[in-house]
């Protein structure tokens, strides 16, 4: 990966720049640790009591811009491996173009999902007698989704690497379509956690970092059959443990390994 950075390869540089931009803007806006979508004025969402009030503080443009920043920051680390596929399978002169088209398709999926998720969040805000109830319901839904076969179905599709046309308009369409379908699978995988982010109050910025790490390490797991199971950071923890053990313990020789 660092070699790719040194060579300014598109599949690495473009998502890295997008991610850095997203995090920088969110950090600048996070002086009060406010959720980006509902706190344009810095007012905590806990103080909002009606949909009208919420919309008064959050124009559709502001909601869209904040959502785009959130997606850019949190999802850009997930783009390296599918973009590597798009670049590897494209002519060298088309790699930047393929990367931008993929990112456009991917962003389109998330922006469309954003409309729905923002609407759900605003509705929850308006309909729930107490904010904690809305937050609790979404947290429960996120946990249920996390262990479900449906989540695995989406995760598996995040690992799809389709055939891509190499020439002309067909190559452009395929790159954008790959981005769109990968983005749709990503929405299916992460929607519940992102909805939770929209409803979080104080600690939102820290929670975003935690969720970003979580969805990144979750994607390290191989595709798997559909089943109810705990899934998440298991592989990352095993990597950390194994690497620590390797550095602390001397390597066994073959004679020691073979009974």
């Amino acid at each position: 990966m660092w070699a790719a950075a040194r060579r300014f390869e598109a599949w690495f540089v473009i998502p890295a720049v997008i991610g850095l931009f997203g995090w920088s803007m969110l950090a600048l806006d996070a002086g009060g640790l406010t959720p980006p979508a509902f706190c344009a004025s810095g007012t905590s969402w806990l103080e909002l009591s009606s949909l009208n009030h919420a919309l008064a503080f959050n124009s559709p443009a502001k909601l869209a811009a904040d959502w785009a920043l959130m997606v850019a920051a949190m999802m850009s680390p997930l783009l390296f491996t599918p973009l590597r596929h798009a670049c590897d399978r494209s002519f060298a002169r088309r790699r930047t173009r393929a990367t931008l088209l993929f990112v456009s398709g991917y962003a389109a999926a998330w922006m469309m999902a954003g409309i729905l998720l923002q609407a759900i969040a605003l509705t929850a805000l308006w309909a729930m007698p107490a904010p904690a109830i809305g937050l609790g319901l979404v947290a429960a839904a996120a946990m249920g989704w996390q262990v479900s076969p449906a989540k695995q179905w989406c995760l598996n599709r995040c690992h799809r690497r389709p055939r891509l046309a190499a020439f002309g308009v067909a190559a452009d369409v395929d790159a954008a379509t790959f981005g769109l379908t990968n983005g749709a699978a990503c929405v299916g995988t992460c929607w519940a956690l992102m909805l939770l982010m929209l409803l979080m109050g104080s600690g939102h910025f820290a929670a975003m970092i935690a969720v970003t790490l979580f969805v990144f390490v979750e994607r390290l797991e191989n595709p798997a059959p559909l089943a109810w199971r705990l899934r998440g950071a298991g592989k990352a923890l095993r990597i950390v443990t194994a690497q620590a053990r390797m550095r602390l313990a001397p390597r066994r020789s073959f004679e020691e390994a073979l009974p």
Binding site: F167, V240, F254, P259
Partner: protein, 513 residues
């Protein structure tokens, strides 16, 4: 003292002692219940198991007791394919099986130094299945020879089992790099960098040829039921006793590659040396005699002298490509070719880029499938310039190597195999154009790779053939200056539509050093 694995065709008879003792050892393992970790079928399941397929083939009774869940989780479904762990995992697997068989041999009064033979189908006159494996009877004429399996159909699905070696290229043995990349260029001699990979998408050079080819052609498929022969599918392959002699040969070829020339080296990356456990995945674990578990890493598998065995023949097979001979063929004088080859045939950073690709996917059915690969003129000029500068002796680097990729190959039948030709004239018999043979492909593992909700996510296999020799031929014939190449797939057996074999894209990549 190191034991020596010997050529099965040169043991002194069809049922020479090492074969007879192997049969007795296999028989002892076959007599054990599936739930015993040293049972034959348990060892087969370590490579891979599909319970439905095992039941269809008569190797699993749904009512019989299964091993403990701990043993299943620790040991089953471990085989490493499409991975740089392919060779070291199988080396450990051979060592463990050899220990289990030897234990049974000794208990039956056999020699304590029994070793597993290997089947060198690449040697002239030795590509037929060793006779002891082809007979349903023991040498005394009684039935139930444990080395015989009925589900071994051969290349023509008629029970005549042999390896069509004329369709194998040995380019992998000339690859200077053990580790390759999944970017369209060389997948390396030993495979691409992966984590624990029970079936990766891109097979390494030696894995594609001859490994996959031998699996697919020896196993074949049942022409009536369309079920695969045991050897054709990773989930049944290790149930066939010939599997172990085939893999002993692949293991031997690893050592052949490492020694010829001595610039070939195994990976030094800690993630390879320490194995998948170092990247948070399943450690390599095998059951040994006495209830002991053998846990090992690739780094422990690199030195045969430490492992306590060797092979009786480590000479490179005829036809192994040499860099110097390629340079001479391209027009460089012999002295300079030797010097350049020696100086440059070392692993190093590579630039890989797409040279051309087909449009649309290709369905493979019947006896013939064709596609055209459109070439990009600007990349094509780079290839031509590289080849021309080699001829002039002015190249500071080796001329480009060229790789054909069959991307996203999907299907339901692992017993599918085909030869790949480039630019055979229409109406001509491809067999008359051996210089145009890119190589041969057997779709070992394609069924599992097609499953959407399994470890491949339904991406299928991407099979890579080095076609440098074909491109050199076209260049020397002045036929490379074209806007497309024509690829022709010639299945060894007609491919039924029910197999649903498709290729997402056929692409060609250049790799410069």
């Amino acid at each position: 003292m190191a034991s020596t694995r010997k050529n099965v065709w040169e043991l002194g008879g069809d049922w020479a002692d090492p074969i007879l003792w192997y049969a007795r050892g296999v028989n002892a393992m076959k007599s054990r219940a599936l739930s015993e970790p040293t049972a034959w079928r348990f060892y087969g399941a370590i490579h891979g198991i599909d319970q439905g397929l095992w039941q269809q083939l008569g190797y699993l009774d749904p009512q019989e007791p299964m091993p403990s869940s701990a043993n299943i989780n620790n040991f089953w479904n471990q085989c490493q394919h499409g991975s740089w762990y392919f060779l070291p995992w199988h080396r450990g697997y051979l060592i463990a099986l050899e220990a289990v068989v030897r234990d049974a041999v000794v208990k039956a009064g056999g020699p304590a130094d029994w070793t597993l033979p290997y089947w060198n189908y690449l040697k002239p006159g030795q590509n037929a299945l060793p006779p002891a494996f082809a007979s349903a009877d023991w040498p005394d004429g009684t039935g139930n020879n444990p080395l015989f399996v009925p589900q071994r159909y051969g290349p023509n699905s008629d029970g005549n089992v042999f390896v069509p070696v004329d369709q194998i290229n040995l380019n992998a043995l000339g690859d200077p790099d053990f580790t390759g990349d999944a970017n369209g260029g060389s997948p390396g001699f030993g495979g691409v960098n992966t984590g624990f990979s029970h079936g990766g998408q891109v097979h390494g050079g030696i894995e594609t040829q001859p490994h996959d080819w031998v699996h697919g052609l020896v196993g074949g498929g049942d022409p009536q039921s369309n079920l695969p022969g045991l050897m054709s599918d990773p989930d049944t392959a290790a149930l066939d006793p010939i599997f172990w002699l085939h893999h002993a040969n692949i293991d031997r070829l690893w050592e052949v590659w490492r020694e010829n020339p001595t610039t070939h080296v195994n990976p030094v990356d800690p993630n390879w040396i320490n194995g998948p456990a170092a990247v948070g995945q399943h450690a390599f674990m095998l059951p040994m005699p006495g209830g002991v578990t053998f846990t090992y890493t690739p780094g422990q598998m690199v030195d045969l002298s430490t492992l306590g065995y060797t092979y009786d023949d480590l000479s490179p097979p005829a036809g192994t490509p040499q860099v110097a001979s390629r340079l001479r063929r391209l027009g460089m004088n012999a002295t300079m070719a030797s010097a350049v080859a020696g100086r440059l045939a070392m692993p190093g950073p590579k630039t890989v880029e797409l040279l051309g690709a087909s449009t649309g996917s290709l369905s493979v059915t019947g006896t013939d499938a064709r596609a055209s690969v459109a070439l990009d003129s600007s990349v094509q000029r780079k290839v031509s310039a590289s080849l021309q500068s080699a001829a002039a002796g002015a190249a500071p680097a080796l001329p480009d190597r060229i790789f054909l990729n069959l991307e996203n190959v999907r299907g339901l039948n692992d017993a599918t195999a085909f030869a790949v030709y480039i630019n055979v004239p229409d109406g001509e018999d491809p067999a008359k154009f051996p210089d145009h043979l890119a190589g041969s492909i057997a779709l070992f593992g394609v069924r599992k790779a097609t499953m959407a909700d399994a470890t491949h996510a339904g991406n299928g296999l991407t099979l890579v053939l080095e076609i440098t020799h074909v491109i050199d031929t076209l260049h020397l014939a002045g036929a490379l200056n074209t806007d497309q190449l024509h690829v022709r797939l010639v299945p060894t057996r007609p491919v039924p539509e029910a197999a649903q074999i498709s290729i997402g894209r056929i692409s060609i990549f250049r790799q410069s050093n």
